[in-house]
C-alpha cells in the first residue's frame, strides 16, 4: 500500500472541487431549514421573523406522519427487493456468457423507458381486472419494477470485470455457491450494493405518479405533499418535515460513524 499511496496523496484542487460540488448539492436544501423557521407560509425572501409554529404543526399532523412512515416502509422494502433482483440479474449477466440473453435484458430494462404514467395506468387496469385491492403493497410492487433497471445498471458496473477465479478458488476450498458469494463476492461488490440500495430508496421515496395510481387510501409522502398544493397553508409543515428529515439523517449517519469510531469505512473493504 505504501507505494500505492503515492498516487493517492491529497490533491488540493480536487478537494476544493469536491467541497464546491457538495455546496451545489446542498445549497438549495440548506434553504429548507432556514424557511422552516420563517414566520410566513411562503418560502420567499425577505425572512419574516422566527417561529417554531411549523414544527408544532408538523408534530400535530398525523396524516403527515402516516405518509412519511408509509414512504419509508415502501422505500426500504422496494430498495431491498429491487437490489436482490438486481444482484441476480447483474451477476448472471456479468458472470456467464449466456446465449440469447440480450432480448431478455431488454425486457428487464423496459420500466426505464416506459413513461411512468403509462406504467401506472396499465398496472392499475391489470390490478382492477383481477380485483386486487390497492394498498401500499401495490405501490411497493410498482416501485420495485421501476427500481430494478437502476439496480442492475449500477450493479453491472460493480460486477463487471470481477475476477471469477476468486470465487472459484473459494468454491474449490469447499464453499458452496452461496458461501462463495457471501464470503468473496459480496464484500467486493458491497459498494455497488450500497449504491443500488441508496438509489432505489431515493427513487421510491420521491416517486409520485406511479404511487398515485397504485395507492389506495394509504398515501405515501409525495402523494400527501402534492395533495397540499391546492391549500398552501399546510405546506410549511412539509417544509419543517423536510428540514427534520435532513437533520435526522445527518445525525444518524454521523452517530453511526462515531460509534464505529476506529474501524475504517466499510466501502473501503473493496480495496483490501
Amino acid at each position: 500500500m505504501s507505494r500505492a499511496a503515492a498516487f493517492y496523496r491529497p490533491n488540493r484542487p480536487l478537494l476544493v472541487y469536491a467541497v464546491l460540488y457538495l455546496a451545489f448539492l446542498y445549497a438549495p436544501v440548506a434553504l429548507l431549514p432556514v424557511f422552516s423557521f420563517n414566520d410566513s407560509i411562503y418560502a420567499a425572501f425577505p425572512l419574516q421573523g422566527f417561529t417554531t409554529q411549523w414544527y408544532a404543526d408538523m408534530f400535530a399532523d398525523e396524516a403527515m406522519h402516516g405518509a412519511l412512515w408509509n414512504s419509508v416502509k415502501v422505500g426500504a422494502v422496494a430498495a431491498v427487493f429491487a437490489t436482490i433482483l438486481g444482484v441476480f440479474g447483474a451477476k448472471a449477466i456479468t458472470r456467464f456468457r449466456i446465449r440469447g440473453v440480450k432480448p431478455v435484458l431488454g425486457v428487464i430494462m423496459l420500466p426505464l423507458v416506459i413513461p411512468p404514467v403509462i406504467m401506472g395506468v396499465a398496472l392499475l387496469v391489470l390490478l382492477s381486472q383481477s380485483g386486487v385491492q390497492l394498498s401500499l403493497i401495490t405501490v411497493t410492487i410498482g416501485h420495485i419494477l421501476i427500481c430494478v433497471p437502476f439496480s442492475i445498471v449500477t450493479l453491472m458496473a460493480s460486477f463487471e470485470g470481477f475476477d471469477k477465479s476468486m470465487e472459484e478458488a473459494a468454491a474449490d476450498l469447499g464453499d458452496n455457491s452461496w458461501w462463495a458469494f457471501w464470503r468473496v463476492t459480496f464484500p467486493m461488490v458491497f459498494p455497488g450494493i450500497l449504491a443500488s440500495l441508496l438509489l432505489c430508496f431515493t427513487i421510491s421515496f420521491d416517486e409520485f405518479i406511479m404511487a398515485f395510481f397504485l395507492a389506495g387510501t394509504e398515501q405515501t409522502l409525495p402523494i400527501f405533499i402534492y395533495g397540499q398544493l391546492r391549500f398552501p397553508q399546510r405546506l410549511p409543515g412539509v417544509l419543517a418535515l423536510g428540514a427534520m428529515i435532513l437533520t435526522a439523517t445527518f445525525v444518524i449517519v454521523f452517530l453511526a460513524q462515531w460509534l464505529r469510531g476506529r474501524s475504517p469505512g466499510v466501502a473501503q473493504s473493496g480495496s483490501e
Binding site: 410566513s40 407560509i41 411562503y42 418560502a43 420567499a44 425572501f45 419574516q48 396524516a63 449477466i93 456479468t94 456468457r97 440473453v101 440480450k102 432480448p103 431478455v104 435484458l105 431488454g106 425486457v107 428487464i108 430494462m109 423496459l110 395506468v121 392499475l124 387496469v125 391489470l126 390490478l127 382492477s128 381486472q129 383481477s130 380485483g131 386486487v132 385491492q133 390497492l134 453491472m156 463487471e160 470485470g161 398515485f212 395510481f213 395507492a215 389506495g216 387510501t217 398515501q219 402523494i223 400527501f224 402534492y226 395533495g227 397540499q228 398544493l229 391546492r230 391549500f231 398552501p232 397553508q233 399546510r234 405546506l235
Partner: protein, 373 residues
C-alpha cells in the same frame, strides 16, 4: 475489461425489444379491449372512501359523519381532478369523488357515476338551487354532482406593483404589456379559456361557435408572450405573488385571502366584465360499495358546520345557504362573498357545460397555444 460485453448486451437487448413487443401485442389487444372498468380495484374494505384534493381530507368537513360513526371516512387524495378521473377510468373504485362544474358532462359521460338521491340528504333543502341546476347535472330530479364549495376565478394582483391608473379593475390586467413576464395564468383551459372568453367579450351561450372559438384563441395567443408561467397549482401562484415574481395572476378566491392574511399587499379584483364562477361538489361512483355511507358523506359535506369551515378557513363559498348566517356582511365582502350568495352568483359568469367535442377541441387548442403554436 469486459466493457464490450456489457455494452453489447445492453445494445442488443435494446434492439430486440421491438421483437418482444411484437409478440406481446397480441396479448395486448386482449388486455386493452377488456372494458376498462372490470371488477374494479377497491380502495379499502368496509369503510366508505372519499376521493378528493388534499385539504378536504380533514375531520372538520365531516362533523355529522364523525358524530355518527366515530371517525371520518377513509380518504384517497389527488393533486388534480383530471388525474383522479384517469385513475377511476383505469378501474379505481371509490364511494364519493370531487369534480367541478365544467367537468360534469365529461365525468357523467364516462358512465362511471350515479346520481345521488336527494331524499337521503337531510341538508338538501338548504342547498342553493342555482348551484346544481346545471345542464346535464340533474336527471329525474336527482343530481349527479351535489354542490359543496364554490367561488370565483379572477385576478389577484400586487397593489404595490400594479398601477391601474384610476381605471376600474378589468381582465385587461392579465393582457397588460406593462406586466410582461410577470403574469401567471391557470394552466387548465377550464378556467383560462373561459376567462379569455370574458375578456374577449364572448357570451358564454355562444362559446362553442367557431367564430367565438377563434376569438378566444386569438386573445389566448395574444396573452401567451406576457405569461411567466402556466400552472395548475395555487401554491405556485401564491408563492410567486408573495415573492414578487408575479405581479398579477389568475387565481381562485382563497389565494388573495391567504396572501392578505400573510401581510402581502394584494387585492382580489372584481373585474368590470365579471368574474368566472365555479362550483365543485360530490359525486357517487356507479359501483360504490357503500351507497348509504356515500350519501352520509355528502350530507356531511353540505352541512352547516362544514360550510362554516369552508367559508371561514378556506375563503370559499358553500352550497348550504344557512352556513352564511354565522358571518357578518363585512367578513363575507372581504372574501368576495355575500350574505345573499345569489347576488354573487348572478353577478359572476357561470360556466355552461359543453359537449365532449368542444372540451377536447378547447383543451387541444389551449395546449397548442401554451406550447407556442
Amino acid at each position: 475489461m469486459k466493457i464490450r460485453d456489457q455494452v453489447k448486451a445492453f445494445k442488443d437487448g435494446e434492439l430486440s425489444r421491438r421483437d418482444m413487443l411484437a409478440g406481446l401485442a397480441a396479448v395486448g389487444v386482449g388486455v386493452a379491449t377488456v372494458p376498462l372498468t372490470g371488477r374494479g380495484a377497491r380502495a379499502a374494505a368496509g369503510d366508505a372512501t372519499y376521493f378528493t384534493w388534499g385539504g378536504y381530507d380533514i375531520p372538520d368537513l365531516f362533523q355529522p359523519y364523525v358524530e355518527k360513526h366515530g371517525a371520518p371516512p377513509s380518504f384517497a387524495t389527488f393533486g388534480g381532478s383530471e388525474e383522479a378521473l384517469t385513475k377511476m377510468r383505469a378501474g379505481f373504485v371509490v364511494d364519493v369523488a370531487h369534480p367541478c362544474n365544467q367537468a360534469i358532462p365529461r365525468w357523467v359521460s364516462t358512465g362511471l357515476f350515479q346520481p345521488a338521491d336527494p331524499a337521503k340528504l337531510s341538508n338538501w333543502s338548504d342547498v342553493i338551487p342555482s348551484l346544481y341546476q346545471l345542464e346535464g347535472n340533474v336527471v329525474d330530479g336527482k343530481p349527479y354532482m351535489v354542490p359543496m364549495d364554490w367561488g370565483q376565478t379572477s385576478i389577484t394582483y400586487r397593489t404595490d406593483m400594479v398601477d391601474l391608473g384610476g381605471e376600474p379593475e378589468s381582465w385587461g390586467i392579465l393582457w397588460d404589456e406593462a406586466l410582461k413576464g410577470r403574469i401567471g395564468v391557470i394552466a387548465s383551459a377550464g378556467d383560462a379559456w373561459w376567462c379569455g372568453a370574458i375578456y374577449a367579450g364572448v357570451p358564454f351561450e355562444e362559446i362553442s361557435t367557431d367564430e367565438s372559438f377563434e376569438k378566444v384563441a386569438a386573445v389566448m395567443r395574444e396573452q401567451r408572450p406576457l405569461v411567466r408561467t402556466y400552472t395548475d397549482d395555487m401554491t405556485t401562484l401564491q408563492q410567486a405573488l408573495a415573492s414578487g415574481e408575479l405581479m398579477a395572476a389568475m387565481t381562485w378566491n382563497e389565494t388573495a385571502t391567504v396572501l392578505k392574511s400573510e401581510g402581502v399587499p394584494v387585492k382580489f379584483a372584481e373585474p368590470k366584465e365579471g368574474a368566472l364562477t365555479w362550483v365543485c361538489g360530490a359525486i357517487i361512483h356507479k359501483d360504490a360499495p357503500n351507497v348509504d355511507l356515500a350519501h352520509e358523506i355528502i350530507d356531511s359535506l353540505i352541512s352547516v358546520p362544514s360550510g362554516e369551515f369552508m367559508i371561514g378557513e378556506y375563503g370559499y363559498g358553500h352550497s348550504n345557504i344557512k352556513a352564511f348566517d354565522s358571518f357578518t356582511s363585512e367578513q363575507l365582502a372581504d372574501l368576495g362573498l355575500s350574505k345573499n350568495p345569489d347576488d354573487v352568483l348572478s353577478a359572476g359568469k357561470f360556466q355552461i357545460p359543453q359537449t365532449q367535442e368542444f372540451e377536447t377541441r378547447m383543451n387541444q387548442e389551449f395546449e397548442n397555444i401554451k406550447a407556442g403554436f
